[in-house]
């Protein structure tokens, strides 16, 4: 027989069930509100990213398939610009030069590695050496280009003065006006400038390697050479990968150095893809063709970064834990 006592029990059970439902519902509502808050705070950054990265990329791709005019409606021409690129000798020259520029990155990284190893050792004054090497990196690239241009100058340049003083040459070398020497001259200036940055990255990587690994290896009789190839290099992989990626990016973005030093000359011999894109857009008024060149450069950059990642063992060269 139901009693008043039962009712309170029933109502307790009911209110308990209701309470249980409310406790289940509250986490879900709370989570939705939290997600909403996250999106509200992310939205401005995403909007900026979309407006300044995604939208221009899409517009660039569309532009590359159009005949664009500043003053008239554009016309769709499909892959015509890409077909034109195949027959464009300046495109192939600038592509070759960009790849050569990229190939100079490992040279710079090797030099930086050597300097990092020296600086990382307990030599006296290493902080000073580190600072001196790094000093080139914060300099404005335009300033670097102007200084190196004057150093390479045929009449009054430092290099010709030194080479002639040492009787290594009889007549001055036209470094930046020579078809053979223009690009290597720019590459040397570029490596000089970025060396300090590579050094900092590699130094940070070196200092992150536990010393007890070297101690253990010494105890086991490993030579310095073996320690370098079996411990240092593998554990430096993430830093090497980062330096390599930055080197690739630099070869695709070194507009200012080339523009100041040679303007891509003589006769496009030091032209990079990035300088050719600028010229096509703003000197030849061919924004549509420049857009097509940009798409090719973008595809190349993505492909090279992916290949570099694979070569570094994937996952941006990260070392497996427990290794």
């Amino acid at each position: 027989m139901a009693t008043a006592v039962d009712f309170p029990a029933a109502s307790e059970a009911t209110s308990g069930a209701v309470g249980k439902r409310a406790r289940h519902a509250r986490p879900g509502v709370r989570r939705r509100r939290e997600m909403l808050l996250v999106w509200v705070f992310l939205l401005p950054s995403l909007a900026v990213f979309f407006l300044y990265r995604i939208l221009p990329l899409v517009w660039n791709a569309v532009l590359s398939a159009q005949q664009f005019s500043l003053f008239a409606p554009s016309q769709w021409i499909g892959l015509d610009h890409y077909r034109e690129m195949v027959d464009d000798p300046v495109f192939w020259t600038s592509l070759r030069n960009t790849l050569l520029f990229m190939a100079s990155a490992p040279v710079g990284i090797l030099l930086a590695l050597a300097i990092s190893l020296i600086v990382n050792a307990g030599i006296r004054g290493r902080d000073v050496y580190r600072t001196i090497v790094f000093l080139s990196y914060p300099l404005m690239t335009v300033a670097v280009g102007i200084i190196w241009r004057w150093m390479y100058d045929e009449k009054v340049g430092l290099f010709n003065y030194v080479l002639r003083s040492l009787h290594l040459i009889d007549t001055p070398l036209p470094f930046l006006q020579s078809f053979e020497l223009a690009l290597p001259s720019v590459l040397i200036a570029n490596v000089w400038q970025i060396l300090g940055f590579y050094m900092i990255i590699l130094l940070a990587g070196l200092q992150g390697i536990p010393q007890n690994l070297y101690e253990a290896a010494s105890i086991d009789g490993a030579s310095p050479r073996q320690q370098f190839f079996r411990i240092t290099l593998p554990l430096l992989r993430p830093s090497l990968f980062l330096a390599f990626v930055i080197g690739i990016m630099t070869s695709f973005t070194s507009f200012d150095l080339v523009y100041v030093m040679t303007q891509g000359g003589p006769s496009h011999q030091s032209e990079l893809l990035i300088t050719y894109i600028y010229k096509a857009a703003f000197e030849l008024s061919r924004i549509d063709y420049a857009a097509a060149l940009t798409i090719v450069q973008f595809a190349l950059l993505v492909t090279l970064t992916w290949a570099g990642n694979r070569l570094a063992g994937g996952d941006a060269g990260a070392v497996e834990s427990g290794a």
Partner: protein
């Protein structure tokens, strides 16, 4: 607790958004409510005349108090990029100053206002100008620009080097030019140099009867035995040091600087180079620097013009401004301050007369600018001028710097030019 922690930032964000929207609405509404009009004019690397432009603006304010005028100045390599971005954004400067043939690209694409109807309505404005120079800005029979300041190439020569080499007078033929250059080339000294941008070197070809294009401007015409001969001669002269290599690799500072250094016998450049050189070279005076027309009297113009953008919202006001700044009163001021000819006949005549008294050497330089104006070259009415230049000049460089034989370079250039013209 969690709900409260979410609500507060949301409410705050909402309030900020409303305030921002209100502020934007006010800002956008403000100009709409004003009656003031505005025009802007963009000049090409002439910021040294800031005071003059402020005077222009003040004077125009008296004529049109309802119009604000904004002045913008960009360096040469920056101006085209800046102008293009402004056109795409829908806010082109109302008035644009261009140098060389850049205006052609804009005019051919419908980007400039045709000034012919304005000039037809006001013949007095048309008659202000040197007819040959005004005609420089004609495309398809229509005038798109007015002269701002004018120049063309001439031959500067170092009289001291001439005397030392036993040369009595400036060369009258291409061969004489090469021979004189060879005589003066010794050690660090070279005999001849030219500027190379905007076709300024083309008189060297034209004086030998080599033209760039066929009369209908549809095909390349320079790949001829004469063209090969000229280019081969220039290459040999560059190789043996008679012609300074910087002719083909420098733009402005390097070649003019080299001539100012006193080690180059002759320089083919336009008149503004004189003031740069004189500023750099203490040796320059009437006894040491000579000026003459290049052999055959051929020259390449490199003048500055003023036009109205098609996208201008106030083209009639822009025309009023143009009329004012190209009037005798204002062109006299510009020419006196900057020592340039403006294409305004009355002002130019006054300037030349005054300078013959004050600065005979500068007067001699400027006098060459109004002579042989029927022998202008390097000024083809091509919308694709920059692309044709890009097709030709690297091959010229290849030949003169010894990378390719002249015949092969011209053949390759011809293929590229014809491809550009066919597009």
């Amino acid at each position: 607790m969690a709900l409260r922690s979410v609500r507060r930032p949301l409410r705050f964000a909402g309030r900020i958004a409303v305030l921002a929207l209100a502020a934007m609405t006010l800002a956008l509404a403000a100009p709409a409510s004003a009656q003031q009009k505005k025009i802007s004019f963009l000049t090409w690397n002439i910021s040294d005349q800031e005071d003059l432009f402020k005077e222009w603006i003040a004077e125009f304010k008296k004529i049109r108090p309802d119009v604000d005028v904004e002045w913008l100045d960009k360096k040469g390599p920056e101006l085209p990029a800046f102008y293009q971005t402004q056109v795409i954004a829908g806010t082109p400067p109302d008035i644009i100053n261009t140098q060389g043939a850049l205006w052609l690209e804009y005019a051919a694409a419908g980007g400039l206002v045709d000034l012919t109807p304005y000039l037809d309505r006001e013949p007095a404005v048309r008659n202000r100008f040197n007819a040959d120079y005004l005609a420089q800005w004609k495309y398809d029979g229509r005038n798109y620009m007015l002269p701002f300041y004018i120049s063309k190439t001439l031959l500067f020569y170092n009289k001291t080097m001439f005397k030392d080499a036993g040369i009595a007078a400036p060369p009258q033929t291409f061969q004489q030019l090469l021979d004189d250059a060879a005589k003066m080339a010794k050690g660090e000294k070279t005999g001849f140099m030219t500027l190379n941008f905007d076709w300024l070197y083309w008189p060297l070809f034209r004086m030998n009867g080599v033209d760039l294009l066929t009369p209908d401007f549809k095909k390349a015409a320079f790949d001829t035995p004469e063209g090969v001969r000229v280019l081969d001669a220039l290459a040999k002269a560059t190789s043996n040091g008679s012609i300074n290599k910087t002719s083909w690799t420098g733009r402005w500072v390097e070649p003019n600087g080299a001539f100012a250094g006193g080690n180059v016998g002759m320089l083919l450049a336009h008149s503004p180079a004189f003031f740069f050189i004189r500023g750099q070279a203490p040796w320059v005076n009437a006894d040491t620097l000579g000026v003459a027309q290049a052999p055959g009297g051929w020259s390449t113009p490199n003048s500055h013009g003023l036009g109205i953008s098609k996208g201008s919202k106030n083209p009639d006001i822009a025309w009023q401004f143009l009329k004012m700044v190209t009037s005798e009163n204002w062109t006299e001021k510009l020419s006196a301050r900057r020592k340039v000819l403006t294409g305004n006949v009355a002002s130019d005549t006054k300037l030349l007369a005054q300078m013959k008294k004050d600065d005979p050497l500068a007067a001699a330089v400027l006098q060459t600018q109004v002579e042989d104006t029927d022998k202008l070259t390097g000024n083809w009415p091509l919308a694709s001028d920059s692309r044709v230049k890009e097709a030709v000049y690297p091959e010229i460089q290849n030949a003169v710097l010894g990378r390719k034989p002249a015949a092969e370079a011209l053949k390759d250039a011809e293929v590229k030019v014809n491809r550009v013209l066919a597009r």
